[in-house]
């Protein structure tokens, strides 16, 4: 076996291994997407309209389902509406600073550019909240017609305070 490890061969092997190692090292250094924080919580218990893990995996299903119901049947609940996603997850356009969907600071693009999944929502839909939008209509289930018209809940000051102390996520 020792005859295989002649000096020249060793050199070739070493160089080859070094090249192999580069992508491995680089892979370890790929930065995780920096996902901007939403500006409100959905409830005391959970940040988004469904548990975060569920939303990360299946948000497109919720949006697609809502899309067809709204478009075809005029169902305009807000829980899974794209408008409310944007209102909560994207900062309002301020003077000199507009976070658009082609920026990595945009909530959707922060992850979609990382995952290399193209979205075309924003070729037609607005990618920022309207100037008069109420930020965080999801706050603790508040907001008129937020879930379903029949089951709007009154929220106590205690719940509000608890959520504020816990901080927005």
């Amino acid at each position: 076996m020792t005859r295989l490890f002649k000096p020249l061969q060793s050199l070739v092997l070493a160089v080859g291994m070094a090249f192999l190692a580069i992508p491995l090292l680089a892979g370890a250094e790929v930065p995780r997407p920096d996902i901007p924080q939403a500006n409100a919580r959905y409830s005391e218990a959970q940040g988004c309209v469904e548990p975060t893990e569920e939303m990360r995996k299946n948000h497109m299903e919720y949006i697609l389902h809502q899309r067809d119901e709204t478009m075809r049947q005029g169902v305009r609940t807000k829980q899974y509406s794209l408008e409310e996603c944007i209102n909560c997850h994207v900062p309002k356009p301020e003077s000199g600073k507009i976070v658009r969907s082609d920026s990595k600071e945009h909530f959707c693009s922060s992850c979609h550019s990382y995952a290399a999944v193209k979205i075309d929502c924003f070729s037609c839909h607005r990618d920022t909240p309207m100037p008069d939008a109420e930020p965080g209509m999801h706050r603790l289930g508040g907001g008129k017609g937020h879930h379903f018209t029949e089951t709007e809940t009154e929220l106590t000051a205690d719940v509000l305070r608890a959520a504020t102390e816990e901080g927005l996520q």
Partner: protein, 255 residues
């Protein structure tokens, strides 16, 4: 030209759906129903058929308040002036002022023309993807999610009511998503209708009233007690190209 339009093909294709709709709109069922907006989580139904009556006699000479109102509400035209490479005739035009002149007498007047929200919309007939659609409550829309931009509907529309967007847009309004490669037209301010029901006032009607002309009446054609039905029963109304038998949602007086 024959008054009768042969809808046998339509009946053949949409037979089942038609039968279901016919049963649900039995006469008298909603005679005394109090007008109220549907809950946000309920689908629209064929109990309502939204329509508009426009009295062109009240239409102000040279006034385009309805067009401006529509632009502001839905974010097209000057309001979202992001079609710099399109010629004026290519740009979006959800509602336009049409001038009518009697060549013999010289008498001229004008009317606002937009999607007429037909009961039998030709745009829906020809659409190859199902993007061009009519809701149960009679509002004709384009589902831009599945519109491929073929523009057959634009050719089929007898009222030239639809526009095609040639360029990338930005900062659309939330109530009116619109974008490159899709066709669009008047939505009868569907976002207001879904919110306010029979009390809804489309932006064109609102702007017209604000101007003091009050030429528009919006309402439920299926409800015999609605303002629009009462006025139509009392004074009648004209459909543009009634000979096509499309049963329009938009009616006119004074033309």
């Amino acid at each position: 030209m024959s008054e009768h339009v042969d809808t046998s093909r339509r009946r053949f294709i949409g037979g089942t759906a038609g039968a279901a709709a016919g049963m649900s709109i039995a006469p008298g069922v909603f005679l005394n129903q109090v007008a109220q907006a549907k809950p946000a989580d309920q689908p629209v139904t064929s109990e309502n058929r939204w329509g508009m009556l426009i009295d062109t006699n009240k239409c102000g000479d040279g006034c385009d308040a309805c067009v401006r109102g529509c632009m502001e509400e839905n974010g097209w035209g000057d309001i979202n002036d992001s079609e710099p490479h399109s010629a004026p005739e290519q740009k979006a035009q959800w509602i336009r002022i049409v001038e009518l002149r009697d060549t013999r007498t010289g008498y001229a007047h004008q009317l606002p023309l937009m999607c007429q929200h037909c009961k039998h919309p030709p745009c829906v007939d020809v659409c190859p993807t199902g993007a061009s659609m009519k809701r149960a409550d009679g509002i004709v829309l384009v589902d831009k999610h599945i519109c491929i931009g073929c523009r057959y509907c634009m050719m089929a529309c007898p009222y030239k009511a639809r526009s095609f967007i040639h360029e990338d847009l930005q900062d659309q309004l939330v109530v009116a998503p619109r974008g490159k490669g899709t066709v669009e037209s008047c939505t009868l301010c569907v976002h207001r209708v879904d919110r306010d029901g029979a009390d809804a006032v489309p932006a064109c009607a609102e702007a017209c009233a604000a101007e003091g002309h009050d030429a528009f009446v919006f309402g439920d054609l299926n409800d015999p007690n609605s303002e629009i039905s009462r006025q139509l029963a009392l004074h009648g109304g004209t459909e543009i190209r009634a000979d096509l038998g499309l049963d329009l949602g938009v009616r006119y007086r004074g033309i």
